[in-house]
């Protein structure tokens, strides 16, 4: 675990920049992480990011891309437009939760 300064605050992150302590997160940090990935957050992005974060905080696991597509209110195709290449991974990173354990 390393420390990264973002939005003028020290954050505990893993090697890929995923926050390790979700409580260190706020909207300003989300916007800074998104900017680093070349994304300007719109209302549609926020629907996904909030869903991602709420699911993680209530169940302890991040939803997969398929669950996002079925339950977040944003279809899979649009997810890929909003978060190019890896929507679940990117939305988790912006939402300030650890990297989803999807792939082995």
């Amino acid at each position: 675990m390393t420390t990264m300064i973002l939005a003028e605050r020290p954050l505990d992150v893993d090697a890929e920049g995923f926050l390790q302590k979700p409580e260190q997160w706020d909207r300003e940090i989300a916007e800074a992480i998104a900017a680093g990935a070349g994304i300007t957050l719109t209302d549609r992005h926020w629907v996904v990011v909030n869903f991602m974060r709420d699911t993680f905080l209530t169940t302890g696991t991040a939803p997969t891309i398929r669950t996002l597509g079925k339950a977040s209110g944003v279809a899979i195709k649009e997810l890929y437009q909003l978060f190019p290449k890896g929507p679940a991974k990117l939305a988790a990173k912006i939402g300030g939760i650890p990297k989803p354990r999807g792939c082995i």
Partner: protein
């Protein structure tokens, strides 16, 4: 009497039944312990052998045996689908409504293919130009097709991880290169490997070596490709971000899911129906008397027979501890051991766990081997072929494999510097 209930009689369930039977042999004979196994069908498939069927190396008869005969006679065996599991009353309900109560329940219900989750996969072209090789039906249909195929574009696609045996799709690509070379039409076949990962494999060092092998064999690699749909008329595989891969034959590794009844028990599984499981003790998160093993779990280890075998030794001891009221041992380290068939009578071997990625070296004895890690060799290939005998005669009956303990060993492995690994 203590009731131990095992759901599923595949690799993991069969090994658990036989190991627990050996541990409690006397108690079973005296009627103080009862071991019950439930499975929905009658045929045990040697799944590592399915890879060889499309290329005519193995036939159907090489990989199929009756399930019941792999399980010790004193174990009660019930053939039935499972309707539900009620964790509150410690009861499993079978298809016909019969109820089985348990003191300990082991979920060994595996993973199955869900091609219906990808638009266009399951349709008129299924098993005509679109195939899987993870089922006996798919593998044999593909064998018939490849035998007489005049050539064209062969595309291998992993829809989404996790999948069973994550190296099998790569092995399929390597063997296809060998098969078409042997048939004398390699120059008429374009092989493409399309994966959602950002490299050939999940672990960096292995991804690098396997990526080189793909290149050497003239196999195209398409990365970060998340298949969204198949256009069966235009014969194109289309990703969610609208990239296209044209094919004449599509070999798909569809989305995998855990058993569907798991979704009916709140808190038991994740959104793909894999059981939420402690990665060290193999106890389910939902309740202390529930355990999970093999492909059925959500632990971050490969879904592979070797993992089920290593887990079984640890889980047998933890079931004993649980029934004796002792604390569980957090002993499982995520140990995986996989042969990777690379064609032309060679194979590669990888050995890793939760923390240590696959490293080069010798296995299982330092310097001597006889097998080499991370490098192609003929002894590795012979090891892979010999594994069929080991599977039926040592693994399923629940014996230890000499020289290969459940925890990964660093003996014989060469340490690779971070710089080398990143290069």
């Amino acid at each position: 009497m203590k009731n131990i209930l095992i759901l599923g009689s595949g690799t993991a369930g069969t090994i658990m039944a036989n190991r627990l039977h050996r541990l409690y042999r006397r108690d079973v004979a005296q009627g103080t312990v009862r071991i019950t196994v439930v499975d929905q069908d009658t045929t045990h498939v040697y799944q590592p052998g399915l890879l060889f069927i499309p290329f005519g190396v193995y036939q159907e008869r090489d990989v199929l045996r009756p399930r019941r005969r792999q399980v010790a006679e004193d174990v009660r065996y019930i053939q039935s689908a499972i309707r539900s599991l009620d964790a509150t009353s410690d009861t499993v309900v079978l298809e016909n409504g019969d109820r089985l109560s348990y003191d300990v329940c082991i979920l060994a219900t595996g993973a199955h293919l869900a091609p219906e989750e990808t638009e266009g996969l399951l349709g008129d072209e299924w098993q005509k130009s679109i195939f899987d090789f993870y089922t006996i039906e798919g593998a044999t249909a593909l064998a018939a097709r490849l035998q007489s195929w005049p050539g064209g574009k062969l595309v291998i696609n992993v829809v989404e991880n996790p999948i069973k045996c994550p190296v099998a799709p790569l092995e399929f690509a390597f063997l296809a290169d060998w098969f078409f070379t042997k048939r004398g039409i390699r120059d008429k076949v374009e092989i493409t490997y399309a994966t959602p990962l950002d490299g050939a494999f999940t672990k960096p060092l292995a991804a690098k070596r396997l990526g080189h092998l793909l290149q050497e064999k003239g196999i195209n690699l398409v990365t970060e490709f998340n298949a969204g749909s198949v256009d069966t008329e235009g014969k194109r595989l289309v990703s969610w971000d609208e990239r296209e891969v044209p094919y004449d034959i599509l070999v798909s590794i569809p989305l995998h899911k855990g058993a569907s009844f798991i979704a009916g028990t709140p808190g038991l599984g994740n959104d793909m129906n894999f059981v939420l499981t402690d990665p060290r003790t193999l106890q389910a998160q939902l309740k202390p008397n529930l355990f999970a093993i093999g492909d059925a779990t959500d632990v971050p280890a490969s879904k592979a027979g070797s993992v089920a075998h290593f887990e079984a030794e640890i889980l047998t001891d933890n079931v004993r501890r649980f029934l004796a009221g002792e604390p569980l041992e957090p002993a499982f380290d995520g140990h995986v051991n996989c042969f990777i068939e690379t064609g032309f009578d060679k194979a590669l071997l990888i050995d890793f766990n939760y923390e240590v990625e696959p490293l080069p070296g010798k296995f299982p004895i330092p310097v001597i081997g006889p097998m080499t890690l991370m490098e192609e060799s003929r002894p590795n290939h012979l090891g892979k072929l010999a594994f069929k005998w080991v599977y039926w005669n040592l693994l399923l009956p629940g014996y230890d494999i000499p020289g290969i303990p459940p925890q990964m060993s660093m003996r014989g492995k060469q340490l690779v510097t971070a710089a080398e690994s990143a290069a």
